[in-house]
């Protein structure tokens, strides 16, 4: 666990960080993001003492890092920089094994560990071990950089814009790779980037920084849905959420207060309720739990409205959980979709419903125009 406590920093009397407080739990993937000059890299480098803190404390697992010798602290965490920062005069194996060598790991053990790490980043050891950095592509160099960071099996890994110099395809590959490695080894990763898509893809929490302060630190989903202020809204971009439909959940587009009815009521009461509210279906619930749906078309021809409605409840309808994402919902709709989709909790408690029109309205939001223009209220568009 890393605690950043009330941190201040300025360069030549120009404030860079002004009162940073942040708690990073073990196993989190924290992404620090913001425009250049916002202090994100400075903040990252304070964690391994590459940049001294003017005021405040960095505390790792309860120990202020002021009390830890620089080299010991740094050797206890991985560090990855842009383009890998490999030593050009050393082979891949020497680069990865550098700290192991310094800390006195035996040659045999070291070689075995290097091979293991190369396998981990999917570079076959027998063909890559003895190459020099200049013989590798940018992506391969960065894989070696990542392998080096994992070499001493650190709890914490710091990554300073590691993928920003790579082409989009390689970048995406490496993002997947680091995401996989983080999940597998549950490292605490602090990752600096200026690429919001990268942040959304990787982070468990995104810390958006602006002029030396953290303006919002939250999950990607919350950040996209509830930007803390205009700055964040502008920074993440208007359509960002819609580029990530997996973050739009059923509960975000559902209508609440569905029209419900108990199975003990009669058909007459049901028809009456439909007429009053101009709907063609009712959701049947018992103690708040969804039991099924009653559709007008199924009961229209029934002569006797006095009988209980229980018999006519159809259970073949689909419902969705509140956290089912938009992508999945749309994928499950067939062309004949009409009516409503109930939204339930995992305990089958009815929370709301989605209608065709509601869905259409939600989808249309991503095409919000640049400026507010007056809508034509009638005529043909």
């Amino acid at each position: 666990m890393i605690t950043l406590k009330n941190i201040y920093k300025s360069y030549k009397s120009k404030p860079v960080l002004t009162g940073i407080n942040l708690q990073i739990e073990s196993g989190e993937f924290i992404v620090l993001i913001g425009p250049s000059g916002c202090g994100k890299t400075t903040l990252l480098k304070m964690i391994n003492k590459l940049v001294p803190v003017d005021k405040g404390d960095v505390i790792i697992d309860g120990v202020p890092i002021k009390q830890i010798v620089d080299t010991k602290l740094r050797r206890s965490m991985g560090y990855v920089v842009q383009e890998g920062g490999l030593f050009p005069h050393m082979t891949v194996a020497e680069n990865i094994g550098q700290i192991l060598k310094i800390t006195g790991t035996e040659k045999k053990e070291r070689e075995a560990r290097v091979d293991e790490l190369l396998n981990m980043v999917e570079l076959p050891p027998e063909s890559y071990r003895d190459l020099y950095p200049s013989q590798l592509s940018g992506g391969q160099q960065q894989r070696v950089g990542v392998a080096r960071a994992f070499s001493v099996n650190p709890e914490i890994i710091l990554m300073d814009e590691p993928f920003s110099a790579l082409d989009p395809v390689t970048r995406s590959e490496l993002q997947d790779e680091i995401f996989r490695l983080q999940k597998k080894f549950s490292k605490t990763i602090v990752f600096v980037t200026h690429d919001i898509d990268e942040a959304i893809k990787l982070a468990s929490r995104i810390c958006i920084m602006h002029e030396g302060q953290i303006v919002q630190c939250d999950t990607p989903e919350n950040t996209l849905k509830n930007p803390a202020d205009d700055y964040v809204r502008q920074f993440i971009g208007r359509n960002r959420l819609w580029e990530n439909p997996e973050f739009i959940k059923a509960r975000d587009i559902m209508k609440t207060k569905p029209f419900c009815i108990s199975r003990n009521r009669s058909l007459f009461q049901a028809v009456q309720m439909m007429n009053q509210n101009s709907v063609d279906s009712l959701l049947v619930t018992e103690h708040g739990k969804l039991e099924g749906i009653l559709r007008l078309k199924d009961i229209r021809r029934i002569p006797d409205y006095k009988i209980p409605l229980a018999k006519y409840i159809s259970t073949d309808t689909i419902s969705v959980y509140e956290d089912t994402d938009l992508k999945k919902i749309i994928n499950h709709l067939d062309d004949n979709f009409s009516g409503i989709i109930p939204v339930v909790s995992h305990e089958n408690k009815l929370l709301g419903y989605i209608t065709k029109s509601g869905l259409l309205a939600a989808l249309s939001k991503q095409y919000e125009p640049d400026e507010q223009i007056s809508y034509e209220r009638n005529g043909t568009l």
Partner: protein, 525 residues
């Protein structure tokens, strides 16, 4: 070409010795430069302002003329190897500092950043990352400075430290291009050899990973090991040899030793050789020769601080330039003042005059002498206005020379040209000037058959040669006093001019000439 070959054969033993001296001084100077330059180059990488200052300072040092630097350093360091090496170091330092600095600061900041970030200590970062990556740069700097050193060590000869500059200097004095080449060619060859060896070393220290990707690991392991053995062997030799050699010299060194010095022209060398052989042949004292010191001031300060035990000087020079006494044109008076002041103020013994007076004379071609009826200096009072003077710049400027001639005797020449050394004689030979200043024992006077004008005005100060000896020398070696005095009054102007002629014009070795003189006078057997 033939003449050069003969010269080479005649002097090959001496050449070898000078070559080794030369190489040793160059190696030592480079070693010192490395010890200073590399740490300094590393230290200044931490601060741009300091770096600019240090590199700027090294630049300035390099722009100081070597002779000026020599004049500055002799009072502190004395003469011999020390000031010579200091000078070479001053010139060799800049490329090493600069390249070490540039090599380190031009390393990719990401590399340094990650070296720090993964937890290398400052020292590990330097040794394991910065120095290996900067090695090719640093090596290139060392190469430049070693080649510079091999060339600039020729200056050492001016501080009495020998080396190949000795031949170059002899050749310049005697107007003998072959002798100059005998010094210059081996010096250049040495520079090329050093360059070749260090180029191999540069290639070896270039880390494999810093080569272009297509060249990495293209050389077989075996060849690489072979290369390493050869190159490291050669470099080791280059640096170890001077140490072993110096140690050997130290062991051989006799307990009884005397240092004989000379200033930097032919006559001084001959006199030095005469004393040197006189002592070595008649006593068991070993002579350490520190010849070719550039000027009386340097030689005298070396004598005072004990770097030299003796050297020959001229009364006029001692009086005016060293003791700063009013100039006397009376030879006896001048000698007495020198003798007394040397003894009282400097604890230095002045021998009786050796005989000849190497003073200024005005000299003309016999045809000119006849045409204008010139034989005495006083004749110029009337005739000067029709004569064109070609003289050294010094002669035209010194208050006791031309200016005094003009003010005191109204001697005004038709034209005055400031010319250097041998060019005066060429100018008079080709009739571009009619009259020149000369030294009375100058070999060129004899060669060209010039007529010296008798100094009936007692115009020029006396320049009688005397031997200056530290008093403590006679205390250590009492046998030297009677021995050295055997030369007093023995060398006439004709003798001296003859000996100068044999060296300067006939190209003989001054040692041979000195040997012959001693033999003829029965001073050696």
């Amino acid at each position: 070409m033939n003449a050069f070959w003969e010269l080479f054969l005649a002097r090959k033993a001496e050449l070898l010795e000078l070559f080794i001296q030369h190489m040793n001084m160059a190696s030592l100077a480079v070693a010192v430069s490395l010890l200073i330059g590399i740490p300094l180059g590393i230290m200044i990488t931490k601060n741009k302002v300091v770096a600019d200052f240090v590199i700027g300072f090294a630049n300035v040092l390099q722009s100081i003329p070597s002779i000026a630097l020599l004049a500055f350093s002799v009072p502190f360091l004395g003469i011999g190897t020390k000031p010579a090496i200091l000078m070479v170091v001053v010139y060799a330092l800049l490329p090493i500092i600069k390249n070490t600095y540039t090599g380190i600061v031009s390393i990719d900041p990401q590399t340094i950043e990650s070296a720090k970030g993964i937890g290398l200590s400052r020292w590990q970062q330097l040794v394991q990352v910065e120095l290996p990556i900067a090695a090719p740069f640093i090596m290139a700097g060392i190469r430049i400075s070693a080649v510079t050193a091999a060339g600039s060590v020729t200056i050492a000869a001016f501080a009495g430290a020998g080396g190949l500059g000795w031949f170059i200097n002899l050749g310049l004095n005697a107007n003998n291009p072959n002798l100059v080449l005998l010094g210059a060619i081996p010096a250049s060859l040495l520079a090329l050899l050093i360059d070749y060896i260090l180029a191999r070393l540069e290639n070896l220290v270039t880390p494999e990973g810093l080569k272009p990707p297509e060249e990495i690991n293209q050389v077989s392991r075996r060849k690489r090991i072979f290369d390493k053995v050869i190159t490291y062997g050669l470099c080791g030799g280059l640096f170890l040899f001077p140490i072993v050699y110096a140690a050997g010299e130290q062991l051989q060194r006799d307990d009884k030793i005397i240092t004989v010095g000379t200033t930097n022209f032919t006559e001084a060398f001959i006199l030095g050789d005469i004393y040197s052989e006189l002592i070595e042949s008649n006593t068991d004292i070993e002579v350490d020769e520190k010849f070719n010191l550039s000027g009386s001031i340097i030689a005298f300060s070396a004598l005072e601080n004990g770097d030299l035990d003796m050297y020959t000087e001229y009364t006029g020079t001692a009086l005016g330039n060293i003791l700063h006494q009013p100039m006397s044109t009376d030879p006896d008076e001048a000698y007495q003042v020198v003798r007394e002041r040397m003894a009282v103020d400097h604890d230095i013994y002045t021998s009786a005059p050796l005989g000849f007076n190497n003073t200024y004379v005005m000299a003309v071609k016999p045809a000119t002498a006849e045409k204008y009826g010139l034989s005495k200096l006083s004749d110029l009072k009337v005739k000067a206005s029709r004569l064109r003077l070609g003289c050294t710049v010094e002669f035209s400027q010194r208050p006791d020379s031309l200016p005094k001639m003009e003010s005191q005797f109204g001697i005004h020449f038709k034209d005055v040209k400031g010319l250097e050394g041998n060019i005066r004689y060429q100018a008079i030979a080709s009739d571009e000037v009619d009259i020149t200043d000369a030294f009375s024992t100058d070999a060129q006077l004899k060669k060209m058959g010039l007529v010296p004008l008798e100094d009936d005005l007692q115009f020029f100060p006396p320049y009688y040669a005397v031997n200056l000896v530290r008093n403590d020398v006679f205390a250590r070696y009492p046998e030297l006093e009677p021995l050295l005095s055997k030369l007093n009054g023995l060398i006439s102007e004709e003798d001296m001019m003859e000996m100068n002629y044999r060296v300067d014009i006939e190209g003989m070795n001054s040692k041979t000439v000195a040997h012959d003189f001693l033999l003829e006078n029965g001073l050696i057997r």
